[in-house]
Amino acid sequence: MKFFKRTDIIIIACILIVSGALMGIYRFNMSEGDVKAELYYYNDLINTVDLSQGQERKFTIPQNENILLQVYEDGTIAFIESDCPDKVCIQTGRISKPGEFAACLPNGVIMKIVPKERDEKDVDLVIGQ
């Protein structure tokens, strides 16, 4: 068994093309425009935050007071404080585009950005609309 062959480049290119295409399809389906952030605690949608108001504010969630989130003026949102060990959620930084995620898996909190007018294009695969 060799370490590397020239034909390996084809395999690498295939993976890149597939993921690029998937990303393109997803971005294309996500209509431009106003967005909102959805906050999930395990499987439940607990909060929806409008990101187009241009006001800066901080808030926490009732399920875990140690998690602090901040909405910025430019329509981005970020985790800024959390008691989890690895702080992946904070390192993710500010997110604002549809499809972007920030997650604090140890605390079971996931935040994702979705278009404000949620139509049939973005029907949830698992639980429906």
């Binding site: 068994m1 690498i12 997650a103 898996l105």
Partner: protein, 179 residues
């Protein structure tokens, strides 16, 4: 260089105790690599939780040059260690990713035998590691449409696979001195 011929001699002529010691040495190497990775600054990309998984170098070494059983042993021990140090969900993610990637790499090695290269094996290992974690996340957090994240997992698995296979080649002399 044909590592495979050398690989056979690594496990042959060794009794149970020697193999056990070898396993624990490779596991210790995996832990050290994980610690080194946690010291390094986070990868500067806007995606949560993506890392190279340097400790997979040890798993890959075990799989390529020691055997399937050793690779699974290292994978399970690694999962348990993460479970103890970083909690249940992190442990479950490590275990699911690790076991799936080992299984995929074994299948590819059985199907393609010598035609496949170490780098491709490592790439598929990296991608399937991510896919395994993704499956567990979608099972735990069922209410979410996570598919936007899937291409990111493919690309990060690809990059991680390339990086770890190159590093494995680079650190081979160090591993050989364990023998």
């Amino acid at each position: 260089m044909d590592y495979k011929l050398m690989a056979k001699s690594m496990i042959e002529n060794k009794n149970k105790t020697e193999i056990m010691v070898l396993n624990s040495m490779v596991f210790a190497a995996a832990l050290v690599l994980a610690i080194v990775e946690s010291i390094l600054p986070p990868v500067p990309i806007p995606v949560p939780g993506v890392k190279f998984g340097l400790s997979n170098i040890a798993v890959m070494f075990a799989l390529f040059f020691l055997g399937k059983k050793q690779a699974y042993t290292i994978g399970i021990l690694k999962g348990l260690f993460v479970f103890i140090t970083r909690g249940a969900i992190a442990g479950l993610l490590s275990l699911s990713g690790g076991l799936l990637s080992i299984t995929v790499m074994i299948l590819l090695m059985v199907i393609f035998k010598d035609k496949i290269t170490y780098m491709v094996l490592s790439i598929f290992g990296g991608v399937s590691h991510n896919v395994g974690q993704f499956i567990v996340i979608t099972i735990i957090y069922t209410g979410m449409n996570m598919w936007a994240y899937f291409p990111v997992l493919l690309i990060s698995g690809l990059v991680a696979g390339i990086v770890t296979s190159m590093l494995l080649k680079f650190v081979m002399p160090a591993f050989k001195s364990l023998m």
